[in-house]
C-alpha cells in the first residue's frame, strides 16, 4: 500500500515535471537539431571551399557522371550528380542530408547568365535533419594576393608631413603593419577611398599605431586626431594576418629567354687613340657601353675593370679596326673585348632583336616578350653626371608578355626604368632614379621582386625635385626603403614580407590598385585559386 502510494506520488511528480518543462525540453531538442544543421552546413561549406581552391573549374560545367568522393568518406558521403552542377550526400557526424548547387564563375571575366559576378562562385547549401531544413547561400570571391597598399611584418615607419592613403578598389583602402605602425611627423593624414566605398580607410597594426610620438592606445589626443581623419585605426589586432610568401617561381615571366653577361653596364664615352701615319696618332671620342667588373653588396657598387665593350665612333676610319678586337680604354680599365657597332642604336648580341642598346639615349632596351636572365649581379650606371642611363622595357604591339630582367644576384640601376616590366632578383634590388619620374609612362607599370631588400632613393647629393612615382607591386622578402626629397607616390602595393617598410619624404601617397598586383604573379598551378568568403545569405 505504502509502496503504491509512494510510486503514485513519484509518478505524479514526474508527470508534473515533464509537463511543466515540456517547452524547455522541446526547445532543447530543437536547439540540438539546429546546432547539428549548423555544423553540417559548415562542414559542407568547407568541403566545397576546399574543392574549389584546389580546382577552380569544379562545378563550372555539369558533371559528366555520378561520382562519389571517396577521399572524405570518413567525414561525409558526397556524390556529384550527373548532368548537373549539384552535389548531394550526408554528413557522418550529424547524420544530416545535404544538397549543394554550385554556380561557378571563378574563371569568368564578366557576370554570367546566372547572375554570378566575375571571379566568384555561389554555393546554395541545403541541409536537412529530422524534418528541419537549413538553407545558406554563400558567395566566394577570388582573393587578392595582397589586400593593402603597404604591408610590413616587422614594423612600418612613414616619416612624412602628409600621408595620403588611397585606393582604386571600393572594397579596400588599408595599410597594414604586423608590428608597430609609426607615422612620424605626420600632421596631415588623408584618406582617399575609391568611389562608392563604404568607408574612408583603415590603418591596421598588430601592435601600436603611433602618431608623431604618441601611441593611439595611450593618448586621447592621438585618438582624437585619428578620429578627425574619418578613417579607422585598428591597433593591437588579434586577427591572424598572413603575408603571402611570394616565391620566384610564382612570378609571371615571358616565354622567351635570353642570357646577358653579369656586371655593371656603364654608359659613357672613351677616347680612342689610333695611328694615322708612321709617326702620327689621332684621338677620337667614342660613345661606349661597357660591361664592368664590380663588387655589389646590398645596393652599394664598386665598379671595376671593363670586361666587354660596345662603341660607336662615326669619325673613326672604316678600316681602323676589325669588327671585333681588343682595345685599350681610358680610365681604370686594362684590356677589354670590344665590339664596334654601326649605329648608336644597336643589337647587343648580333641578330637578336630582343635586347638592344641606344647610345644616344644611354638606354638598354629589353623587348616586351623576353625574360633576360643574368647569372650574377646586374647594374646600370654612368660615371658621367651629365648622362642619365636608363633601362627600358619596350612594349611592342602584339607582344602579350611583359618583359623582365631576372638576376641570380642583385640588381642596381642608377637611372631610370621605363615601360612595362618586372625586375626580379634573388638578392637586393636598388634603384637610384636621378630624374623626376621612375615611371614616366602612365600607361605602363613596373613590378619588383627581391629575395632580400628593395631600396629606392635618389643618388647621394642629388638635389632634383619632382615626384618619385612608382606603379606596380614592390615585393621584398626582407625590407623595403624609399626616400625622396619631395614626394613619393606608389600605386599598386608595397610588401616587406619579413622585414620593415621605411619611407621618408615630405609627401607620401600610397594608392592600392589590385590591377597591378596580378600582373607580376602567374596563375597558381593545377587550377588552384585563392578564395575568400564575400557574402553569406541566411
Amino acid at each position: 500500500m505504502l509502496t503504491m502510494m509512494v510510486t503514485a506520488f513519484v509518478m505524479v511528480l514526474l508527470g508534473a515535471f515533464i509537463s511543466l518543462n515540456q517547452g524547455q525540453i522541446n526547445l532543447m531538442s530543437s536547439s540540438q537539431t539546429g546546432d547539428a544543421l549548423e555544423r553540417a552546413s559548415q562542414t559542407v561549406y568547407e568541403y566545397c571551399f576546399s574543392r574549389l581552391e584546389h580546382n577552380k573549374y569544379w562545378g563550372a560545367q555539369p558533371f559528366d557522371e555520378n561520382r562519389k568522393d571517396l577521399g572524405v568518406q570518413s567525414v561525409m558521403v558526397v556524390e556529384e550528380i550527373n548532368g548537373t552542377t549539384r552535389i548531394k550526400g550526408e554528413t557522418n557526424l550529424d547524420d544530416a542530408a545535404f544538397e549543394v548547387l554550385i554556380r561557378n564563375n571563378i574563371s569568368g571575366e564578366t557576370p554570367n547568365a546566372q547572375g554570378v559576378p566575375a571571379h566568384a562562385c555561389l554555393l546554395d547549401i541545403e541541409v536537412s535533419r529530422g524534418g528541419l531544413k537549413s538553407k545558406r547561400r554563400i558567395q566566394l570571391n577570388t582573393a587578392p594576393l595582397y589586400d593593402a597598399s603597404a604591408v610590413a611584418s616587422d614594423g612600418m615607419v612613414i616619416d612624412t608631413d602628409k600621408l595620403v592613403v588611397a585606393s582604386k578598389d571600393p572594397q579596400r583602402n588599408v595599410i597594414r603593419s604586423k608590428q608597430d605602425l609609426h607615422l612620424k611627423g605626420t600632421t596631415d593624414l588623408e584618406f582617399q577611398p575609391a568611389p562608392n566605398s563604404a568607408e574612408q580607410g583603415i590603418l591596421w597594426s598588430g601592435k601600436d599605431i603611433i602618431l608623431g610620438n604618441e601611441s593611439l592606445r595611450m593618448s586621447s589626443d592621438a585618438r582624437e586626431s585619428a578620429a578627425e581623419t574619418g578613417g579607422r585605426f585598428v591597433d593591437n589586432s588579434r586577427t591572424d594576418y598572413n603575408v603571402h610568401d611570394l616565391k620566384r617561381e610564382e612570378i609571371n615571366i615571358a616565354k622567351y629567354t635570353r642570357v646577358m653577361g653579369d656586371g655593371i653596364y656603364v654608359f659613357g664615352t672613351s677616347d680612342v687613340t689610333y695611328s694615322t701615319g708612321p709617326l702620327t696618332t689621332t684621338t677620337q671620342r667614342v660613345s661606349t657601353l661597357e660591361r664592368r667588373e664590380h663588387k655589389l653588396v646590398d645596393g652599394k657598387a664598386t665598379i671595376g675593370d671593363v670586361k666587354e665593350m660596345w662603341y660607336y665612333g662615326d669619325a673613326l676610319p672604316d678600316d681602323w679596326v676589325a669588327d671585333e678586337q681588343w682595345i685599350t680604354t681610358d680610365g681604370n680599365s686594362d684590356w677589354a673585348f670590344a665590339r664596334r657597332v654601326n649605329s648608336r642604336h644597336f643589337q647587343l648580341y648580333e641578330g637578336d632583336e630582343l635586347i638592344k642598346a641606344d647610345l644616344s639615349a644611354s638606354r638598354l632596351e629589353i623587348s616586351a616578350n623576353v625574360d633576360v636572365q643574368v647569372k650574377g649581379d646586374f647594374g646600370i650606371f654612368s660615371e658621367d653626371p651629365s648622362i642619365t642611363p636608363s633601362l627600358a622595357f619596350i612594349d611592342q604591339e602584339g607582344m602579350g608578355d611583359r618583359g623582365s630582367l631576372s638576376s641570380d644576384g642583385e640588381i642596381l640601376i642608377e637611372g631610370v626604368v621605363t615601360g612595362t616590366g618586372n625586375l626580379i632578383a634573388n638578392g637586393s634590388v636598388s634603384l637610384y632614379p636621378n630624374v623626376i619620374d621612375v615611371e614616366t609612362d602612365t600607361q605602363s607599370d613596373l613590378s619588383i621582386y627581391s629575395g632580400k631588400n628593395v631600396r629606392i632613393a635618389p643618388p647621394d647629393n642629388w638635389t632634383g625635385q619632382g615626384t618619385l612615382s612608382f606603379k606596380g607591386l614592390v615585393y621584398a622578402k626582407e625590407n623595403v626603403e624609399l626616400y625622396h626629397q619631395n614626394k613619393v607616390r606608389v600605386e599598386g602595393a608595397i610588401v616587406a614580407r619579413e622585414g620593415h617598410l621605411r619611407m621618408t619624404a615630405p609627401v607620401v601617397e600610397l594608392v592600392y590598385n589590385p590591377a597591378y598586383l596580378d600582373t607580376i604573379v602567374r596563375e597558381l598551378p593545377d587550377a588552384q585559386v585563392r578564395l575568400e568568403r564575400a557574402v553569406w545569405i541566411p
Binding site: 505504502l2 502510494m5 506520488f9 511528480l13 508534473a16 515535471f17 511543466l20 518543462n21 517547452g23 524547455q24 526547445l27 536547439s31 539546429g34 557576370p111 547572375g115 554570378v116 559576378p117 566568384a120 555561389l122 547561400r137 558567395q139 570571391n141 589586400d147 572594397q171 579596400r172 588599408v174 562608392n196 566605398s197 563604404a198 568607408e199 583603415i202 591596421w204 579607422r232 585598428v234 591597433d235 593591437n236 589586432s237 588579434r238 586577427t239 594576418y241 575568400e532 568568403r533 564575400a534 557574402v535 553569406w536 545569405i537 541566411p538
Partner: protein, 209 residues
C-alpha cells in the same frame, strides 16, 4: 496507527511542499535559461548576416532600486529586407543594405529587451545607424521608421555590448533576472539571475581585416 498515518501524510505533504517549491524554482531557473538561450540564438542569427562595421552602440546605465548601476546598452547593425531578391544586391554580390536592426533594453527595473527592424532604404553601403541614440524610446512604438517590433524578454537586468576591433567580434554580456521566487525549503524570497557572455561574428563583413 493514526499517528503513523498522520506522520506519513505529514511527511508526504512536507515533501510535496518542498518539491513544489523546488519545481517552481527549477522552472523559474530553466525558464530564464531558455529565455536567455532564445535571445542569444536570435542575436546570433541576426548578427551573423550583418556586417561588423555597421555596428552602432549607445551606452546607457540604469540605477536599480538597490542603488546598483547596471548597463542597458542599445546597439544596432544593418540587415537586408529580402535576402533572395536580386535587386537587393550590388553587381559585386554585396548586399544593398536597407534595414537596421536595433536591440535595446528599456530602463524599467526589469527591462524589456526590444528588437526593432528599422527602415533604412537607400542606405546601400554598410554604415552604422546614425539615429540610434534618438530612436530608442521607452515606448518602442513611438520610435521612427519602425517596420517591426518584438519583445525578446521582460527580465533584462543588464546588457553590455562592446566591439572588439582586434578580433572583429561583438562581445555581449546579457543578464536576465526574475524576481520574488521562493527558495525551496524556506519562505525566503529570492531573485533568479542568469548571465550569458558570448561573442558574435558578422559573416558579411567584407573584406575582413
Amino acid at each position: 496507527m493514526f499517528l503513523i498515518f498522520g506522520l506519513l501524510v505529514g511527511g508526504i505533504f512536507a515533501i510535496f511542499t518542498y518539491s513544489s517549491a523546488g519545481f517552481r524554482q527549477a522552472i523559474a531557473q530553466q525558464g530564464l535559461s531558455g529565455e536567455l538561450e532564445a535571445v542569444q540564438r536570435r542575436l546570433t542569427y541576426d548578427f551573423r548576416a550583418s556586417h561588423y562595421h555597421t555596428v552602432a552602440i549607445v551606452p546607457r546605465t540604469k540605477t536599480l532600486e538597490d542603488g546598483t548601476d547596471v548597463s542597458r546598452t542599445a546597439f544596432s547593425f544593418t540587415t537586408l529586407s529580402d535576402w533572395y531578391d536580386p535587386d537587393r544586391f550590388h553587381p559585386t554580390g554585396q548586399p544593398r543594405w536597407d534595414r537596421q536592426l536595433v536591440y535595446y533594453p528599456t530602463t524599467q527595473e526589469s527591462g524589456r529587451l526590444i528588437r526593432q527592424l528599422i527602415d533604412a532604404t537607400g542606405l546601400n553601403v554598410p554604415r552604422p545607424y546614425p539615429a540610434l541614440s534618438t530612436n530608442i524610446s521607452e515606448l518602442p512604438n513611438s520610435n521612427s521608421d519602425v517596420l517591426q517590433t518584438t519583445t525578446l524578454s521582460e527580465n533584462v537586468l543588464s546588457l553590455e555590448v562592446a566591439q572588439d576591433d582586434s578580433r572583429q567580434l561583438l562581445d555581449i554580456t546579457l543578464r536576465l533576472r526574475t524576481r520574488g521566487g521562493q527558495e525551496a525549503g524556506s519562505m525566503r524570497k529570492i531573485d533568479e539571475t542568469r548571465e550569458a557572455v558570448f561573442s558574435l561574428d558578422a559573416l558579411n563583413t567584407y573584406p575582413r581585416l
